[in-house]
Symmetry: C2
Subunit: 230 residues, 2 copies
């Protein structure tokens, strides 16, 4: 059975890819990455390296024009700075729940739809992506919630003539749970990139850097990206 | 309230646009068209003309690369011919139900997702599109069925942080019902294009030509595109 994995080059999607390769064999796995106009291209080159590492074909599609009117802080043309606070703190600032400034309008819905069109075109049966509970908390990223995934899955199933499903294997895990599985699978995390800034080293203080560091620590491990900066 | 209308330049979406302009005022309506690699560009120029007619801004986004692996007969690179039979006959050939060869993989899901990202970026509250009962019959186009629209609507609502909905005002109408409304709204159907072939005049024998002609006839009217060929 052929599957398409949405691969951004971060921890979650790289672990998804490792799991898919283990379950389906590299010959049945296709990696798809989407450019949406992000501020830096570092994670794009990381995604390519991860796909190469696992010997799976890598496809890149540019959807950045769709977001040309958005002022989300992740986007190249945005004048909003990346907020250097943990997601928990950002949610507190929002009064407990609400979308964070790094939420890109319906990005995951668009990526999943894109993956569905691509997947059905090549005769694949599933689209796999790395949504997880931490991103869904407080609806910080509403396009990561279990409700969203459930409805999107049903929309894709019905809309493709019942040929395709979404799998979100980490939907009930947090990032620490993903890293736990990834360490067992020996995911080459030194090739991944999560930081929202595109510098040589992770900034260590944006929401995703804070979450990533904690996820490794909770597994008694050190993020190889931080090791190499010592 | 701002709304985004998916406008392809055919009968259904042009009537959608007319209805949206009547309900919300031209100043609140945005037309969005998606290139998906279709065999001809005739409907693109028609969509532009319809948007101009109604004085609404027109945005065009190219998603054709996503479908580069599909062999759907509507696509430029496909070696499959357009079938010159009515949808009813095509469904009979498929044993009563199934996707027709002009179904583009999850195209409507992708277009709606694209429209959702665009709409939320500009602060719109709804995405409007022209799915109707004829296209849904026998799941000829599975991405036009009420089930698909329901789940996609819920996915977009949840995935945008409950800021955006889909409206499909013709979901329970057939094409004749759409033309009935359109004639009342004085939609300039002479500017629209439906035929799957990109010739000077409609071929008259592809599924959409047959449906279009019948829809006008059922309203005791003649399609202005056919009038001008006399």
């Amino acid at each position: 059975m052929k599957v398409v994995v949405l691969l951004s080059g971060g921890v979650d999607s790289s672990t998804c890819l490792a799991l898919a390769v283990k379950q389906h064999g590299a010959e049945n796995v296709y990696a798809l990455n989407i450019m949406y106009g992000q501020k830096h291209s570092k994670e794009l080159s990381c995604a390519q390296k991860i796909a190469d590492y696992y010997h799976v074909p890598y496809h890149l599609i540019d959807l950045s024009l769709i977001f040309s009117k958005s002022n989300c802080s992740l986007l190249q043309h945005s004048d909003q700075p990346i907020i250097h606070k943990s997601y928990n703190e950002q949610l507190k600032d929002l009064g407990g729940s609400g979308t964070v400034s790094t939420y890109v309008p319906f990005r995951n819905g668009l990526m999943l739809s894109c993956a569905a069109s691509f997947a059905q075109s090549i005769g694949a049966s599933a689209v796999i992506y790395g949504a997880h509970a931490d991103d869904a908390a407080g609806r910080a990223y509403p396009d990561c919630t279990p409700e969203f995934v459930e409805y999107m899955n049903k929309a894709i199933y019905e809309g493709t003539g019942r040929e395709l499903v979404i799998e979100a294997p980490f939907l009930n895990s947090n990032k620490a749970g993903i890293v736990k599985q990834g360490l067992e699978l020996k995911v080459p995390y030194e090739l991944t990139w999560s930081c929202y800034e595109g510098n040589d080293q992770p900034c260590g203080s944006c929401g995703t850097c804070i979450d990533r560091k904690k996820a490794f620590e909770l597994n008694g491990a050190v993020d190889p990206l931080l090791q190499s900066t010592k």
